[in-house]
Symmetry: C2
Subunit: 239 residues, 2 copies
Amino acid sequence: MPTKVAAAPRRTRARRGEGDRLREEILGAAERLILERGNIDAVSIRAIADAVGVTPPSIYLHFADKDELVFAVCELRFREFRDAMNAASGESPDPTESLKLRGLAYVRFGQEHPEHFRVLFVARGEAEDLPPGIVESVSLLADTSQLTTDDLVRLAASPELPVGTAAFLDVVTAVRRCMDAGALPDGDPLAGAVSHWMIIHGYTTLRLAKPWFPFPPVEQVLDDAYELVRLRLTAGTEG
Amino acid sequence: MPTKVAAAPRRTRARRGEGDRLREEILGAAERLILERGNIDAVSIRAIADAVGVTPPSIYLHFADKDELVFAVCELRFREFRDAMNAASGESPDPTESLKLRGLAYVRFGQEHPEHFRVLFVARGEAEDLPPGIVESVSLLADTSQLTTDDLVRLAASPELPVGTAAFLDVVTAVRRCMDAGALPDGDPLAGAVSHWMIIHGYTTLRLAKPWFPFPPVEQVLDDAYELVRLRLTAGTEG
DNA sequence: TGTACATCAGTGAACGCGCGTTCACTGATGTAC
DNA sequence: TGTACATCAGTGAACGCGCGTTCACTGATGTAC
């Protein structure tokens, strides 16, 4: 597995105080390379340095080691992912349509950035190396069903929240809005959001893994996902 | 990432004509090592040879290269996976219960053999390197809705079918049985099976990727999956 | 029954490679006087 | 305005490592006569 990459022309040296410029360029190149190649292990420090037009040791001026660099890239991409979801969601004033557009954006993100998607949602989660702050933010999910829509919006906007949790809270809020509008029955919006996530995620990952399989069109899955949320909200209030 | 493994005691040499014995041992060790470590790339030829108690070149007596070995392991494990599904499914005479048990076995398989699961269902599917025979078997799925339950059973039993396709046909058959028993409405059992697969797969992969997240208990997901299948069968006959 | 020989399951040493990371350094840029 | 100097963004060469794979070989096992 060769890791050669068209080397960028030697870049001009940053001026004093502009050291962060290289940091940004490294992040950009790493992101691009991860996207191009399949595996994150297949992207080497050397390849990243080459792409930026710099020597490998320069990377260590900005990141302690490879893990720190990979983590930084993920954070960045997770933020972009969340923004994409919210942008798609905002394209319709109708909460039902808005939730479906959110699902559509999820599927599209997986299709268009399969490697970043893999890093964000598929890479094995180790119990030992939890993202910082995730434990607190999860315990906070415990009683979202008591919160109003405004509470949820405020919560999702907290800057100290891990971006993954915030992105999930956006979905909870979207479900909650459907309930507010009377489009979905009252119930626990978190349970509904989880159901939505599961089926959309299943569809996205299976399409990536088995591209030859005759999966149904995305519109049908979005409709099914919506009805599944209804099902869960109803079942939840019954039980 | 060290790849050292407790080396097995030097094994006794196979007798003439028993060359396949080593082949089996290699497959067993490879399977075990893939299961232990996360990544399949993290399992080296050397580690496998060590675990078997043999030198690395011996591997090449039985497999052309590493890819061929990995493929053989997957085939083997896919068969075990399918057997596990069918065994679980057979534990109840009730078709509804049987379908749910099948889903439960899927989730359990993912939980208990996360790395094999990853290899079978998560690894990126490249359009160029399709498993042999998959194209024919997929085109064969086109009109399963016309087939009787017996037809489906016979089809799934065809020995020349790729084991993945066969395992999926087992699910189609399970859905079809629910229709036969009147537990589910008439419709396209293939569409129902895909829906079932999507949500169960989504649940399984998300639990693996985000072990800290408060996902609902598996029983609830199995119930939801069943109702989702009903939803799809109904929607399919309407549209 | 004894022996020469072909077969075949493995061995041992080495190959070239790309990797992450370290270390001593260089030379342009800005600052103090 | 001119110069000595500290700062800092990088460089270049090398480290030790594990990898997949190759190649010439060895020595036990079975077979033919």
